[in-house]
C-alpha cells in the first residue's frame, strides 16, 4: 500500500462514550441539582436566591460545558477525536430516549417530559 500523505489523525478513543456517560447521568439525576462525582462529592443545590449566574446552572450544564470544550478543541487541535464528543452526545440521547429497553422489558425508551431535547437548552431559549 502506498504511504499516506494525509496529515489528519484517525478517529480513536473513548470520547464518544464519555459524552454518552454524561448524558446517562443527566437522565438519572433530578433536574436542578449538580452532584460532583469522584473525589469531591459536593452537593451543590442551586436555588433562585443565589446570584443570577449561578441560578442558571442546571444538571445539563456539565454535558453542555463538555460539548462546548469539544467545539473549541476541534477548532484548535483538529477534528480527530474531539468531534466524536458531539456525535456521542447525540447518539446517546437518541438511544436513551427512544430505544433503550426498560428494566421489565415492557416498553422502549424513556419518554418522560424532562428528557426531551428542549431541556438541554437554558430556560431562556425554550
Amino acid at each position: 500500500m502506498t504511504d499516506h500523505h494525509s496529515s489528519g489523525i484517525p478517529f480513536h478513543g473513548l470520547s464518544a462514550l464519555q459524552s454518552g456517560i454524561l448524558v446517562a447521568f443527566t437522565q438519572i439525576i433530578p433536574e436542578h441539582q449538580i452532584q460532583l462525582f469522584g473525589v469531591l462529592k459536593a452537593r451543590v443545590k442551586v436555588g433562585v436566591r443565589h446570584l443570577g449566574v449561578i441560578s442558571l446552572l442546571t444538571a445539563q450544564t456539565i454535558p453542555g460545558v463538555f460539548l462546548l470544550a469539544s467545539n473549541v478543541l476541534v477548532l484548535v487541535l483538529g477534528p480527530s477525536p474531539f468531534i466524536l464528543i458531539q456525535f456521542g452526545f447525540f447518539v446517546a440521547w437518541v438511544y436513551l430516549r427512544f430505544f433503550k429497553l426498560s428494566e421489565n422489558g415492557e416498553y422502549r425508551g424513556d419518554r418522560s417530559e424532562t428528557f426531551a431535547f428542549q431541556y438541554w437548552f437554558p430556560p431562556i431559549v425554550r
Partner: protein
C-alpha cells in the same frame, strides 16, 4: 484521613467495568507497541496514527476492516517518541489519562444501575454509531473540501 487501600476498592468493581477497562488498556498498549514495531520495519514511514489501519478508524482505508468501528473506540493513542507537535502529544496523553480515570468510575456506577448487558449494549451502540457518523462526516468533508488533510 483514613488510608486508602486499593484492594477493597478493586473488589467493588463489577465485571463489566473490569472488562471495559481491560479492553481500553489492552488496545492502547497494543497500538503503542505495534506502532513502534511497524515504524522500525516499514519502508515508508507512515504518518502518526496511521500505522494500524486495521485497529483505528482511518476513513480512507478502514472500509476494508469493518470491525474497526468498535475497536477504534478503545484505542487511545499515546506517543512518546513520535515527532509531532507538542500540543497534540500533550492532548493525547491527557486524553488517555482522563479516559482511564473517568470511564471506569462512571461505568461502575452505571453498571450497578443497569446491569452488565445494558452497559455492554449502551457502550457498543454509542461507540459504533458515533464512529459511523464520524466516518461519513470525514468522507463528506473530503468530497467537499477536496483536500486530504481530514483523512
Amino acid at each position: 484521613m483514613p488510608p486508602i487501600s486499593f484492594l477493597p476498592f478493586l473488589q467493588t468493581v463489577p465485571w463489566g467495568t473490569r472488562i471495559l477497562t481491560a479492553l481500553l488498556v489492552f488496545a492502547s498498549l497494543a497500538q503503542f507497541l505495534l506502532a513502534s514495531v511497524i515504524r522500525q520495519q516499514a519502508p515508508v514511514l507512515p504518518t502518526y496514527g496511521h500505522e494500524l489501519p486495521w485497529l483505528v478508524l482511518v476513513p480512507k482505508t478502514s472500509w476494508k476492516f469493518p470491525w474497526t468501528l468498535l475497536t477504534a473506540g478503545f484505542v487511545e493513542l499515546n506517543i512518546f517518541e513520535v515527532r509531532r507537535s507538542w500540543s497534540i502529544k500533550a492532548s493525547d496523553t491527557l486524553q488517555f489519562a482522563f479516559s482511564l480515570v473517568t470511564v471506569p468510575l462512571a461505568c461502575r456506577y452505571l453498571e450497578r444501575l443497569w446491569g452488565i448487558r445494558e452497559l455492554a449494549r449502551f457502550t457498543c451502540v454509542v461507540i459504533v454509531a458515533s464512529n459511523i457518523i464520524a466516518f461519513g462526516f470525514a468522507w463528506i468533508l473530503f468530497i467537499v473540501l477536496g483536500s486530504d488533510a481530514v483523512m
